[in-house]
Symmetry: C2
DNA sequence: ATAAGTCTGTTGAAATTTCAACAAAAGGAG
DNA sequence: CTCCTTTTGTTGAAATTTCAACAGACTTAT
């Protein structure tokens, strides 16, 4: 487990927990690590929501395909981020989304009930973990508000500009690289890919931005 | 405070807390009750996010108006529901949304830091409250997933049907009354009101549903 | 280096949404 | 009951999105 310490230290779930306690804690929680190849399904829609997951290496996307066949990307998942916890904590019977590996991944799985019900060893970190989990869920809530701010826009241009402005703020710079290719960005913004490409060209010709593939600069 | 007990017992925040402990707890948390008239602003966009709020009576809507003037309803808030907690717990500087009273309301306000930092009296319920808060945030997360499922749809018809099917499931019946008038439903689904009315008429003429104002029946 | 496959940008036509304006229906106040 | 206000439904035109098809740029594997 030691090789994962650098990522785990950055993970919201383990805030305020000292390195020397972490090993014992992970043991107590029965944490296990699983690897997935590119394009593999990490969590399948419809499967039971038992696990709180932590991305150790690689990246993934949380995705849903609706009744009408529209693919929608709910969020990207990067190393040290927690995912699946909302469904597990809310005791959802079935996962309403799918999580798919973008590239080879290592994921840490912790059974939710190990965290929710205090452990038999009475290890002293449960309270801290629950507090961290709460904070993490609150932050995720904010991310949903951002996502809704984007999807609430009526036109492709408004959605795109709202997204790009949020990215610029997040990166603290007018220049930044986005984590999606065109099709993925379209699925995230919930618009048509070709229309999105056209809109980007238009913004470029209007002198509002410059871009090359995943790199953007707002002018 | 006693007159609010019936609502508070139903509130997620106070699960597993006995009635007789509730009074002491509310005192320890410094809970206060504020009334608002119809159409009054309960929380203003841009104001500091200090409070965890509980709706005691009446109802409200969480709303955002974007840069382009589109009004979007994020959620309806009914008695015993908690709101504003995600922003307070995530320590957001400014509220990104507005909460407006639908009708005369009573709201209980609890300063977030009173819950986050254990109280000086060392009352024994903080852990339970934080656990409840965590569960509540997880459930809210699920609601956002539902909302995203709706807004991810491309057409008015798809959004409307997704919404109505979720409502039918929620009410456990094909007949139900929705909590929005037409304009509000349009703002919730993020579509044009007149287009929404037209779509409802069309579904009616196709024999897919019957409806009268806020009452719907799926056939 | 070449070939195969993927990603991006373009285009035009069809479908859909938005917008503005108005009429009918419902609800409230006096 | 009547007047006034709000809500809902309807319509047609303008704007936008979606869809399908294709070509050029880029990547990857051999």
């Amino acid at each position: 487990m030691k090789k994962y310490f650098d990522v785990l230290r950055k993970c919201r779930l383990f805030r305020e927990i000292a390195d020397e306690d972490l090993i014992a804690l992970l043991g107590c929680l029965g944490a296990k690590v699983v690897s997935f190849g590119k394009k593999y399904t990490i969590i399948a829609e419809g499967s039971p929501a038992k696990y709180i997951c932590i991305m150790l290496s690689g990246s993934a996307q949380m995705v849903r395909v609706d009744y009408y066949g529209n693919r929608s990307i709910i969020s990207g998942i990067e190393p040290s981020e927690v995912f699946g916890e909302a469904f597990a904590c809310a005791e959802t019977a079935e996962m309403p989304v799918t999580v798919i590996a973008n590239e080879p991944c290592e994921v840490m799985l912790i059974e939710c009930h190990r965290i929710m019900h205090s452990c038999s060893n009475a290890c002293g970190f449960h309270q801290q973990i629950i507090f961290n989990l709460m904070k993490n869920l609150a932050v995720q809530n904010l991310m949903f508000h951002q996502k809704l701010e984007i999807t609430a826009c009526r036109t492709t241009r408004e959605k795109l500009m709202t997204y790009l402005l949020l990215q610029a703020k997040k990166h603290g710079s007018e220049r930044f690289t986005i984590p999606f290719d065109r099709q993925e960005l379209a699925d995230y913004l919930e618009v048509d890919r070709s229309g999105l490409s056209a809109e980007i060209s238009k913004l470029r010709s209007e002198g509002i931005l410059t871009s090359n593939r995943k790199e953007f600069e707002l002018l």
